[in-house]
């Protein structure tokens, strides 16, 4: 026996089952599982469906039907105080729920047909209305503003600008290993000494471009004192130290470096 319906007519296994139940005019609560299963299997055989996805859904239902069928054939052990659950019950509940939504979807279809007859109109608000902004009364806005106040505001804004710069992170850049060569620095100081003869220690330090530079310069000065190539004097406590370069040439220095 073949079923003269195309697969496309069914939304899925539940749809097909409902169709078979209707066709056989049987009560949904008392599905003659043997008959329905047979017809269902017939249908699957007739299905020339290459799509595994769709096919598998129908096969899952077929397996369910077979399970129910076998459960109904087996004798049921009735224990005391235990309800006998009809193996078909779960399927029936699913079928009923599905049937209800199918019924409702037809109702919705009618409603949609009716609603499609209504026409709506897009918003038509002229630009000059939708873009309208209330005019601002400048004099009212500036009524209690004095120059002093403006200055204070300006100051605080500028301060905020400064505060916004994270004093630590802002100095983060590429971190490079600074390597300042002491002998190189000593040569530099000698060069500077030869040009200036007498110069200020502070001025020398100010010329340096980094903490490491300053330290190495200081070490270089100590080194040059040891070598007796410079002499230093300070007139008063905390005053600038003056350095006299004594030599008339630049002495080569042994190569050593600090990091």
């Amino acid at each position: 026996m073949s079923i003269p319906v195309k697969l496309e007519a069914f939304e899925g296994p539940l749809d097909l089952l409902l169709h078979l139940i209707d066709k056989n005019k049987v009560n949904i609560y008392d599905i003659p599982i043997v008959t329905i299963t047979e017809q269902y299997m017939e249908y699957i055989k007739a299905m020339e469906e290459k799509n595994l996805e769709i096919m598998s859904e129908f096969l899952v239902m077929a397996a369910t039907l077979l399970r129910i069928k076998s459960q109904m054939l087996l004798p049921v052990e009735v224990k005391e105080e235990e309800e006998v659950v009809d193996p078909r019950q779960e399927l029936v509940e699913r079928l009923l729920e599905y049937k209800m939504y199918k019924y409702v979807s037809y109702e919705l279809k009618d409603k949609q047909m009716d609603a499609q007859l209504l026409m709506f109109k897009p918003s038509t608000i002229p630009l000059e209305i939708s873009d309208y902004k209330e005019e601002i009364d400048i004099s009212e806005l500036l009524s209690d503003l004095t120059l002093a106040k403006l200055h204070t505001i300006f100051q605080s804004v500028m301060k905020r600008q400064v505060d916004k710069v994270d004093p630590i992170r802002s100095k983060f850049g590429k971190i490079e290993k600074e390597e300042i060569n002491l002998s190189q620095k000593i040569l530099e100081i000698q060069q500077y000494g030869l040009e200036h003869r007498t110069f200020s220690f502070r001025r020398l330090l100010e010329r340096q471009t980094g903490k490491m530079d300053v330290i190495v310069t200081f070490l270089g000065i100590l080194e040059l004192m040891k070598m007796q190539r410079i002499e230093i004097c300070q007139n008063d406590l905390f005053e600038d130290i003056m350095i006299h370069y004594l030599a008339n040439d630049i002495a080569p220095v042994d190569d050593f470096s600090i990091e």
Binding site: E11, G12, P13, L14, D15, N27, I28, Y29, D30, E53, I54, E57, M61, V84, D86, R94, L96, E97, Y98, M100, Y101, K102, Y103, V104, S105, Y106, E107, L108, K109, K111, Q112, M113, D114, A115, Q116, L117, L118, M119, F120, K121, P122, S123, T124, I125
Partner: protein, 189 residues
């Protein structure tokens, strides 16, 4: 007199806006309380239903919108080239009705009711803006929960979810009766 003025303003607002306007927005624009405005609009809706009017006001959730009456459709189609609207396929309608009644619902739950994969149907419904994501389920994988949109209400001429068609109670009663008989029979055996 006061009410007449408010009605005129509401009419102008709804006409101009075209889209659905929340009752709160209308109330604040007219400087009146929401309940009063809602009553006035409901009154207007009744009067618009009369034969002398070609437009009416519909309610969607908490908003109101103006549109033409269904009876005007024929004439409008002749004068304007109305674009053909989508009529949903049965598959989409089936999924949509499940979402409408059971929202918020996951794709998985829709599939278990229909017994078939519903990815395509749900995606299409989202594309048509009849359905949207309304949250996530607190379960493994946090699956998306779907619900219906205001467009859905407008498309189906439903004022709110409470107005969804109800499955005829006599049908349900019939099922119940049959079920009880079944149980009786089983006990007799």
């Amino acid at each position: 007199m006061e009410i007449k003025k408010l009605e005129a303003m509401i009419e102008a607002i709804l006409f101009t806006m075209g889209e659905a306007v929340e009752v709160e927005r209308i109330a604040s624009a007219l400087d009146h309380d929401v309940d009063t405005i809602r009553k006035i609009i409901h009154n207007m809706m009744d009067r618009y239903e009369g034969d002398e009017r070609g437009i009416k006001i519909i309610e969607l959730d908490n908003s109101f919108q103006m549109c033409t009456k269904a009876q005007m459709y024929e004439a409008i189609v002749k004068i304007a080239h109305v674009p053909k609207k989508h009529i949903l396929t049965d598959v989409l309608l089936e999924s949509l009705s499940i979402i409408a009644y059971k929202q918020p619902i996951t794709k998985q739950q829709i599939e278990s009711i229909r017994g078939v994969k519903s990815d395509h149907a749900v995606n299409k419904l989202v594309e048509y803006n009849l359905v949207c994501e309304v949250g996530r389920m607190d379960a493994p994988g946090r699956p998306i929960l779907f619900g219906t949109t205001e467009d859905f209400l407008r498309n189906f001429g439903i004022a709110s979810l409470e107005d969804l068609p109800v499955v005829a109670p006599e049908k349900v009663a019939d099922f119940k009766m049959e079920a009880e008989e079944e149980v009786q029979l089983q006990l007799d055996i």
